[in-house]
Each structure stands twice: as structure tokens, then as C-alpha cells.
Symmetry: C2
Subunit: 594 residues, 2 copies
Amino acid sequence: MFTIFLLCSTIPEISAVGYPINVWPKPTTFLWTRPQAILLSPNFTFSHPNHPYLTAAVNRYLRQVLTEHHDPLVKPRLNLTSALPLSSLIITITDVTSPLTHGVNESYTLTIPSSGSSNATLSAHTVWGALRGLETFSQLVYSRPSIVASGLYISDVPLFMHRGVVLDTSRNYYPVEDLLRLIKAMSMNKLNVFHWHITDSHSFPVVLPLEPELAGKGAYGEEMKYTAEDVKRVVEFGMEYGVRIVPEIDMPAHTGSWAEAYPEIVTCANMFWWPAEVEWADRFASEPGTGQLNPLNPKTYEVVKNVINDVATMFPDSFYHAGADEILPNCWKVDPSIQTFLSKNGTLSQILEMFVNSTLPHITSLNRTVIYWEDVLLDSSIKVSPSVLPPENVILHTWNNGPNNIKKVVESGYRVIVSSSDFYYLDCGHGGFLGNDSQYDQPPGTDPGNGGSWCEPFKTWQTIYNYDITYGLNETESKLVLGGEVALWSEQADSTVMDPRIWPRASAMAEALWSGNRDETGKKRYAEATDRLNEWRYRMVTRGIGAEPIQPLWCVKNPGMCNTVHPFRQWLKHYGPGTEMKPERKDMQRLQIG
Amino acid sequence: MFTIFLLCSTIPEISAVGYPINVWPKPTTFLWTRPQAILLSPNFTFSHPNHPYLTAAVNRYLRQVLTEHHDPLVKPRLNLTSALPLSSLIITITDVTSPLTHGVNESYTLTIPSSGSSNATLSAHTVWGALRGLETFSQLVYSRPSIVASGLYISDVPLFMHRGVVLDTSRNYYPVEDLLRLIKAMSMNKLNVFHWHITDSHSFPVVLPLEPELAGKGAYGEEMKYTAEDVKRVVEFGMEYGVRIVPEIDMPAHTGSWAEAYPEIVTCANMFWWPAEVEWADRFASEPGTGQLNPLNPKTYEVVKNVINDVATMFPDSFYHAGADEILPNCWKVDPSIQTFLSKNGTLSQILEMFVNSTLPHITSLNRTVIYWEDVLLDSSIKVSPSVLPPENVILHTWNNGPNNIKKVVESGYRVIVSSSDFYYLDCGHGGFLGNDSQYDQPPGTDPGNGGSWCEPFKTWQTIYNYDITYGLNETESKLVLGGEVALWSEQADSTVMDPRIWPRASAMAEALWSGNRDETGKKRYAEATDRLNEWRYRMVTRGIGAEPIQPLWCVKNPGMCNTVHPFRQWLKHYGPGTEMKPERKDMQRLQIG
């Protein structure tokens, strides 16, 4: 302990983990007395306990460290010592049987000696912690011939257990190869949950053995389906990369595509979403693509139970996302049986409760924890009583009103997953997708407004990085926050933009949820994070992930020169409204006070 | 004439050009009595006059029409008649010698008979008009085996002569293959000017024979240069596709990269762009990357003249873009010779005039028309007198204040090219790129603001489509508006995002500048344009251009269902502030009144 303390106090942590070498997300503890490196032996091997997924990962990382030859944009200021090359890393695992599931221990320690005369060691409680450590090790290797940072000790453990990405494969379809590449990139960033929003009103791409007609008629086309084999491949791939696959079959709303096979169980299907002369509150869907399952039709439950059974069979994860967002009164009200129910003093919330009571116990009986979107509890019009949502079986997923809704959910005693749209929605800021939208038909010179995106503006990596998902919560409440998920809704995304829309912005969340967004003094780590993320983005690109650039290359090559050193508020005080020194409009715009 | 009038009045133009078949940009005149199609003979040929670039284009289009087999998302409602397959299209050109230059006649007429017993004909005044017609013809061919829309007559001519894309290859580098793909996609959209913003303060990628050290030291790296051979390839490729290449070597500002080779001719190079305690007006550059050429140093002109001579040799186009934007007082003021000049009652505007007087006549002596950014005339601090900018030799390029600056420029008698940043800047809305930016360090729950982009929000395709670049001008003034260019500045763009950042938004401008953004009744053509652009985007993707999606695929398959039919202002009146019926925040956001 005494030694570690000494090391700690002599080497500022920031310089060790930033430059001269970069690991993303930044490890919790990184001790490096004398930044140096040694050769990686061409005969380098991992020694490891036997485990199918660990073996797959080890083979992958072995190939990577021997052949990647990463060429950092900023050459590390490291001495390559003449010590013996590193020839082995020994992996030890306390409990090799722990399954990949929520809350599994992902911690690890990694030691790389100053000389290859000793072995490097990676110790983890579980296989999944070892995978995280292997990723870290791979990021410490670079150059040709391969060299590795040496004389260091890393002890690492995530702040949040649940770190994910939502991808919507219904509004637009993504080939399986895209999903695999997403999982691969997630693993590089130590993200562990791919929340697959598989179906919605627009298409039903997954082929379910008990209900093949749902995809048969509801998929966009024969070549735009996920077969049982595809799903198996995705799930297996996830296991090899330490990424859980949490399926979402959104219901009872967002089910227009089900009506292609079963028109009788879907209300308001294929209606114009918001007809003329209809108030916004009375629309049939919040966007084009209408349809909600009818909870009063017994046939609905025949289909739904088949769907649940199939999904639970195909996706082994213990979390099951059951949707339940954006249920609109008028869509249900077009149905005669619902009209009758309402005329007898029934309410729409009672109808939703019937649906939840007929499906939730079935899902939990399959040993699943159910995730619902927050709407099921917080919607202003159609929602259920907390009594039908046992907190031990139910997790709520927030997307509106940032910290306010997180607070509401945890105050009610529920665990929460955070996807606040103001911070974590990756699709925002690209304009609206409606045709014939009169908001664009303005004379030029008019303020062009917000670009027509309901959740504008674009969520920058900085916005994502800085979001504190336990803001305003006490310690007990904070413990109910399992983590977060950035979300790519696909109204305006598909294969052509998947990588740059997700990366490196998901990397920003990945670090914030792994080791936080503050330095050891509690300050947000801006300038340092920018340079590191930039370098990391380039490494992701060379690894085949089309992450978008966050700065000119010049900035990476000239660290610190692309910073701003002016506190924004101070600047505002100078040039704010009413002062004499008001700059030109274009200058004001450059500084965000236009 | 009488016959044509009859055709015109019986078939509404909108249905003929929208569905059942799509040509983008929409032709000026499209007559189609009875929408039908005939087979394209497997032995189909073009007959054409001899011309190297026309021959290259014909070979390309022949391959395309025989092998593309485009499968429209919405199956055209066309009868495939049993008439003889079309076996030939005869191209006639009035003046085969007209060079590809500004103002060249791009009009054409295309006739496809009802039966292949006659030939199709394409008549144009020039080779370049024929290229536009060939593109139209290619878009009328689809399916497997290839069929072609038949029994139609198209007469087409652009509204604006100058229709371009600016790409900045200095902030980040793009491989030559990207530039060729850009030119190819431009040609598909009948865009005719690639304005290549080659150099800036960040890197100097082009290798100039007389000044090889500029790239030798100023490029990002050996593999990030454009050699003379690369440039030749780009220029030749442009000729084959009917796209002019207009080079821009920005100066005297935006020249920090020149200082790597010639530190003595650049003021304020490699300084921190906006130091602490310095007012915004006194910054050294408007973004990181400082440096301006010193007009008082004779050595400057030795280098600049070599640069101009080389560029004029490498780029045959008669337009030469000479930059002249964003000159900052304090960058020049750090130089002792400039300080001396100012102390003798000289002004910075005089210094700029010296620079213009020493370079503009040299460029015009090489038979070039010079384009300057508007700043040279309109900047509030450093600008020249109109007397040194002869309107017959100088075109101004606007980027600030939308129609206001266009008006100012044409009122001064100059021709103008429009790139108003509020409408045509493709990089906007992706956040700021500065490190250490305190505007992001706000407690969550705070309005996340505009995303930190100086020219936010994102310019949607609708914003671009609807921009009327002659708004508020009289007829004489309107004639001075040569056209427009959408611009991709590359601080946050490179290869990974080039295609989706440019397409299909540049297609929106392409149609607005070719045949306008209104239907024959003068109404903006929204819903119809959305469906057509969506379909066109898919065709571009299958042609290898990674254009981003603008809607769920569902919308293309369900034409009209993704429209909105509510006038925005009417909706606002209903739910505006102070009313009882205020919807929830998320709903308000969806409808843009958050």
C-alpha cells in the first residue's frame, strides 16, 4: 500500500493515461512510475483458463496485438527499453462459470512488467472482466514491430453496470453485418448491452418460429429479415465480445407492422397518422406509422404469447424489453370493442393494466426482468398503477425530461436505465422527416429555426460526455440508476450512416459510465478528453469502425492548440445584449449567442 | 405546337415526372401522353458525333443502362407495351467544339418513341448538354431486363448556370477516390462546378511544381498529398462527367500551413488562436489555425505568383477562386513591418488593397475570372474599394446574412455565387470542435442549447430546397446571380462522412437551381419532392453514393402517408403560449415549438 501511494503521488495520473498513451475508456486506476515500453515478442502468447468465449476472445486479441501495428497520431513520448520482449500474459479468473448477465463483475487488474523476463498478468473475477482487461491490453500495444507500454499497473472497475446502445432496426433495416460491427465497436469501448429495438410500426424484421407471418408480411422484404439463424449469430457474437443482447418487441403501441399478418388484433392500423382538422392530442400516432395492439381481443394474447415465447427462446439474456411507450388514446378509440368498454365507464388506463397484467407475469415466469419505457408509469394520459409493476421484476427506461424523470422513477422505488433524449438520442438534429412540412416554407431571411427535429439540437459528444445521470439524486436513489443507453432511432438512419451517427459519441458515454467524466479533483475533464477521444476515434477508424471526426487532424497533431480558454459566461458578460462592444452576427454565431 | 399543347393539357405534369417514374432534378418540360415503357434492346447503342469526353460518357452510360437494372421502391404504374425494343438513341450536337466553361449551353431535348421501330433522339447545342440528357435517359431506364419509359418528350434547360459543391480538403484530407466519387455523384445530379477549397491554415495538400515545399512541409503527411498527377486525374475525370474544377487557394488569410515552408511570409503563424485576456475582436483567427500572408514582404509575392502560375497551369478552368475571407487585424498587427506601416497612418485596408493590386491583375492576365469571398468588399474592418475590383473580372461569393449580402453585392454591380451559411453550409449543426469548451459544462437539466455549432442548426434538405437565391432582387439584379454552391467545411468531416453529409442535401440544391422549387402554379413542391428525393436517394445508394436516408423506408412504400397536412402557423395558433390546450413538452418538441 505504501509503495502504491508513493507512485500515485509522484506521477500525475492525467499524463500517464492521456498522453503518452491512450486507453479509452480511461481506467479507474492507472499507475505508471516511468512511462516506458518494451517489444512484444513475435511469439507472444496468452495463457488462460479454458472457456469457449474467453478462448475466442484470446484468439482475436492475439491476432490483433501481433498484427494491428497501430500508429498513434501523436507519437508517444516513451522510451523503448532494451529489456527482454514481453512473451506472455497470464490470465487468471476467480470464477470461470459466472454467466454474462446484469451485474456480473467486470473488474480486472492488469500488470505489465518493465521487462519480459517476467510475465504480464491479468486477473479478473469473471471471464467478462478478463475481456475488458484484454481490450485495455490491446490498446497499450502499438507500432511496428509491436511494442507495449510497460512497468504499469491498472486496476479497473465500471461505475455503472449497464452501458448500452439502442439500435432501431424497424424504421430502416440494417444487415446483420452492421449489427456485428456495432457489437465489435461496443466491446472496444467496454459497452456491454446492445438493446435491439427490433420491431415497430414500420417493419417487423425478425422471423419468429411460432409466428412466421409477422415477418413474412411485416418485414420490408425478403432480403430485409433477421432469421433465427441470424439472431443466433448476433447473440453468439455478443457472447464472444462480452456484449449482452437485450431484445425489445415494442407493444402495445408501435405495432402497425403486426397488422400485415393480423389486422384483427391491431387498432387504427394504416390510418393517416394526424389527419386534417384533428387536434395534436387526438392524433393516431406521434409519427407516421399507426397501430396499437387491442388488449380487449383474446386473439391478441395468443399472438403476443407466441412472440414472447419465441423471443425468450432466441434471446437468452435475463432482461426483456417490453416497450409500452407512446400509447395514444385515439388509436384505441377507433375500435368498437374499446368504445363499448369506455361507454361502460371503463378507462384507457384500465385497458393498459389489463394488457400489462396479461403479459408481464408471463414474461417474468420465463425468468426475465422486464424493462418498460417510463411512459407506462409517467404518461399523462394512459398509465398503470405502480401496484401492477413489481419493482423486483420491472426496470423503467427514461427518455423524457432528463434528470426530472429519472428522479420520479427512482423515488417510486424502481431501477432505472437512462436514455434521456436531451442527452442520449443520437438521431436528433438532422431535421424532420415529414413530407409537405410547411414549417420549411418560409421566406429566406427568416430564422431557419431548429432544423425541424423534434429533439433538436444534435447531441454532441461533449453533451453526452458531460451528462451526469445521477444528478440531483441521493445515495440510495443513485444506486437505482443501473446505467444508460445512447439511442439511434432510425427514421433518418440506416447502413449508410450507422457508424458515424453512433461513434465516437457512444464512446463519450462509454467513458462517462465506466470511469466518469471528472478528474481526480472533481473537475470535468474537457481538454484532456478531447485529445484522447480524437486519438481514439482514429484508432477505431483503423479498426474498421467509420467513426466521424471531431476535429481537424491539425488539432490532434497540435495538442492543446484547439482549446478555448475563455469561460463562456465571462465572455457573455463582455459581449452580452446591451453592451457597446457587440460583435457582428457571424462572430456572435461562432460563439453561440446568436 | 398544337399537338404539344394538347399533350400538356391532358396529362398533369406532376404525375408524369413524379411517379410513375422519377428523374432528378426534375426536367423543365416533360410531356408524356400515355405513361408506358418498352424493352431496351440488349443490343442497344448510342450513335453520336466524335468527341473524346462525349465518347467516354457514352461508353459509361451504355454500360449503365444495360447493367444497372434499377429496381424502383415504388413500382412504376406503367404498361410495358409489346412494341419493338428500343435499339438506338441518336445524339446530335449543334456545336461539338464548345468548351466546358461557365455559361456553356446545357440545354437538350430528348425524345423516346412509343416503339423501337423508331430511334430515340437526344439533341443538344453542346457536348455538355448531351451529357445532361444522357443522365436523364439513364434515369428513365430500370428493371431487369432493362426497360425504358417511352412515348415521351423532354425539353430541359437549367435556371442557373453555376451549380456547385465546395469541399474543403485542408481541415481534413480526402483521398482522390473520394473526389472522383463526388464528381460522379455531382454529374448524376446535373451539378457542374466542383469548387475545391484545397488549402487553408491546417494543411497544404497540393504539390505545386514551382513550390513543392508548401506541400512538402505543409501537408498532413506523405500519403495525404495531391500530386500533379492526382490533380490531372481529377480535372480529366471532371471533363468526362461535365463537371468543372474551380480551384481555391485561399489567401491572404487562412494560410497558416504556408508557414511550414516559408515562415518569413506569414504573420502570426502557430499562435494560440484566441489567448486568454484577449477580446474576441482581437483574436488571431476565427478558429484554431492562425496565419496570414504578409502583403508588405516582397518575398510573399514571389511565392504567391509561383502558386498562381502553377494553379493556373494545373486547373484549366477560366474561374479562379482567390479566397480573401476572414482577414483579422491582430494577426497582421503582430508583424513589425506592418506595425511601422500603420504608425505612418497607413491602414490595414490599404495593406489588403496592395495585396489585391499585386495579385488580381496577375491572375486576370492568365485569362481567369477571379472569385473572392464577399469579405473583400463587405468586411466591417478590412476591405478594399470597389475600384480595385473590376466587375468584369471579379465575381463575389456570399456566405453571410443570406439574401441581405446577395442584395448588397448585386447592387454594387457584381456577379454573385451564393453559399449563404444559413442555407447552404452542410457542416453546420454537428457541435463545436474546440477542446475545453466551457459551454458544455452545465448542470444537466439546463437547456442543452444549440449544440455548439456556430452556424447551427443543421441545414436540412428542405431548408436547402426552399432557399430562393434571388429573393428580393429585381430582374436586372437577379441576372447577376450566377448560381450557388453547397459547402462542406471539413473541421468535422472526412472520408468517413463525406457522402452522407453531402447527399442527398446537395441534390436538393441541384433541383432548385436546375428547374426550381415550385410547381407550375408557383407553389413550393413539398410532398411531391419528398417522395421523389427519397426514391432518388435510394438510386444514388445503389450507384455507390452513400447518401443518407431522409425517411423510414415505410414512407417510400406508402407515398403520401408520411406527410403532414397541418399548416404550421395554424397549429401554433392553437397551442401557442397562453392557451389552455398546451401539450406536453415532448409533444411540443415534436412540433417545434419547445
